[in-house]
């Protein structure tokens, strides 16, 4: 337990010392809100059922933060640790692999929440964005969706031969998702054919689930989305554990 807490605390401090990671997880999300807010504004629109563009985009941007951490931070950090021999050094201590992974998951969740909190704060202050859901339920859905995205990240880290490869795989998976899952542009504005592609992207289901709960729907209305995310979480975690290597 002491090892777990110390490792989590160390991971968080190291996160802040890595300027690029800190930028994408913490500074980038509020910047996105400002940028898209300037472009689209938040006037009520019939396309979004009388809500503004920023209102409906907040849960989507939240999903984007999960994607940034899951597809960029995690694959890069874990595979770099392996490539440089940090994992090997940890392995020669009594530290258990499970403890190492838990500390990594928790520290990434915490950093992600900092990014999400700033994102929502900026949205509230600048655009008075709407929120009709239950904050606790939405927080639970964010954690659940985040774990599903993270599990993909850990799988990428496990199978990528090098840190460079992990970075490329993460980007190749993430960039299309950023634009096609509804994470940056509302999925409603995309052509129907593109929306069909979206159905194959895991992040799409996180966007849909968060969007629904954000505006007061219940989990039962999004059973399909929750089931897909759970499936991703279980399968990717199992595969990541199976293919994980210390060196």
């Amino acid at each position: 337990m002491r090892g777990f807490l110390q490792l989590t605390w160390t991971d968080i401090r190291l996160y802040f010392r890595e300027p690029i990671g800190t930028f994408f997880t913490i500074a980038f999300p509020p910047l996105i809100v400002v940028l898209f807010g300037v472009i689209y504004g938040n006037d009520p629109m019939p396309l979004f059922g009388g809500r503004g563009s920023m209102d409906v985009s907040m849960p989507a941007y939240t999903a984007m933060v999960l994607g940034i951490v899951g597809f960029m931070s995690i694959p890069i950090s874990i595979s770099t640790y392996r490539e440089s021999g940090v994992l090997r050094r940890f392995r020669s201590t009594p530290l258990k692999p499970v403890t190492f992974m838990l500390a990594d998951v928790i520290s990434n969740l915490l950093m992600m929440f900092v990014g999400v909190a700033l994102l929502i704060a900026v949205g509230r202050i600048l655009y008075h964005v709407a929120f009709d859901g239950n904050a606790l339920i939405v927080a639970a859905a964010i954690v659940f969706s985040a774990l599903a995205m993270f599990s993909i990240g850990y799988l990428i880290a496990a199978v990528a031969p090098t840190a460079r490869a992990a970075q490329v795989i993460g980007m190749v998976i993430f960039y299309p998702m950023m634009f096609l899952s509804g994470a940056t542009m509302p999925i409603e504005v995309l052509p129907e054919s593109v929306q069909r592609v979206s159905a194959f992207l895991p992040l799409t289901y996180a966007v849909k689930l968060l969007k629904g709960l954000w505006f007061g729907a219940s989990w039962t209305d999004f059973a399909l989305e929750a089931a897909v995310l759970l499936g991703v979480l279980v399968v990717c975690t199992a595969l990541a554990a199976r293919f994980f290597r210390w060196e």
Binding site: R2, G3, L5, Q6, L7, T10, R13, L14, R17, E18, Y81, S84, G85, V86, R88, R89, R91, S92, T93, P94, L95
Partner: protein, 303 residues
């Protein structure tokens, strides 16, 4: 003295290379035990099997009475410094020690350890900003943070300048004086000779010899050399008759005498004195482990 490590018929194969082939030895409590051999001899593979980081293909290993393959308990009682070491680049020295201390059931005072290893003024320095010697000191500190019963150093001084290397030797001696058994690997014969109580010479994955450095050097009957200079106009006395002497070579006033045995040097000197020959600049050259390796394998150690 009881043995802390027993290795019997250890074997380890990678793909089609037999890295370690039937190695057996024991390590006594409180000694500095060295595994020596050229790069690629199988030292690191052997030490990593003993540390429990690799699984042996054959043979048995007992470390403090336990099988290192099931690491859970043993990991708390041993300290490890790996050949390829790394830490997160932005991790500070004191943070690294506190972090590693938290992994162990019992841990040393980390501030005291930082002082002991001469890292006091590097306490809040990031790992990536440390010099090679400072990094190695930090890795020694991390290996010692659990106050282990046995500590393993794999190629501790590789890549260090001679001065840093000597200060590492002092550190290793201190560790042993504090009651910890030390197992190290090196490809520097001089390091093994100066530092180790007993030396296991490995080549091509097999044991070539195992003994104290003195016994290894002595047992070979490797020639010793004694050199001196004759004063002007003085002829060399006949030394061929001295029993320990093998041959004599003279270049101008410089005389080199070759021979064997513990009494070689003293018998040459007393023969010179008996003949009332003055000699200047007398020097004896001991054979080293380097010569032992050459004699046993027919190859030079140096790559």
């Amino acid at each position: 003295m009881p043995d802390v490590i027993e290795v019997t018929a250890l074997r380890k194969r990678y793909a089609d290379v037999l890295a370690v082939n039937d190695i057996s030895f024991t390590v006594h409590t409180g000694e500095i035990f060295g595994m020596v051999g050229p790069n690629g001899a199988g030292k690191t593979t052997a030490i990593e099997c003993i540390e429990g980081l690799r699984h042996a293909d054959g043979g048995t290993i007992r470390v403090l009475g336990e099988d290192p393959a099931s690491r859970a308990k043993l990991a708390h009682r041993i300290g490890v410094q790996l050949q390829d070491n790394a830490l997160p680049p932005h991790l500070h020295v004191d943070e690294a020690l506190r972090l590693f201390a938290s992994f162990y059931a019992h841990a040393a005072d980390t501030d005291g350890l930082i002082d002991r290893l001469g890292l006091s003024d590097k306490r809040s320095c990031a790992f990536s900003k440390l010099s090679g010697g400072q990094k190695q000191r930090l890795f020694i500190a991390l290996a010692l943070v659990s106050e282990p019963e046995i500590v393993f150093f794999d190629e501790l001084t590789t890549g260090l300048d001679p001065q840093a290397r000597r200060s590492m030797w002092d550190l290793v001696r201190d560790v042993r004086s504090a009651g910890c058994t030390v197992v190290l690997t090196t490809h520097f014969m001089e390091e093994a000779e100066r530092l180790c109580d007993r030396v296991l010479i490995i080549d091509h994955g097999a044991v070539v010899a195992l003994d104290t450095p003195e016994a290894l050097v002595g047992s070979l009957g490797v020639e010793r050399r004694l050199v001196f200079t004759l004063p002007d106009g003085v002829a060399a006395p006949p030394l061929d008759g001295v029993s320990a002497v093998g041959r004599v070579e003279q270049t101008g006033a410089r005389v080199a005498v070759y021979g064997t045995g513990d009494r070689f040097a003293s018998s040459v000197v007393s023969a010179l004195e008996d003949a009332r020959v003055d000699f200047l600049d007398l020097r004896t050259e001991q054979p080293s482990l380097e010569d032992v390796f050459l004699a046993l394998t027919g190859r030079e150690m140096r790559e």
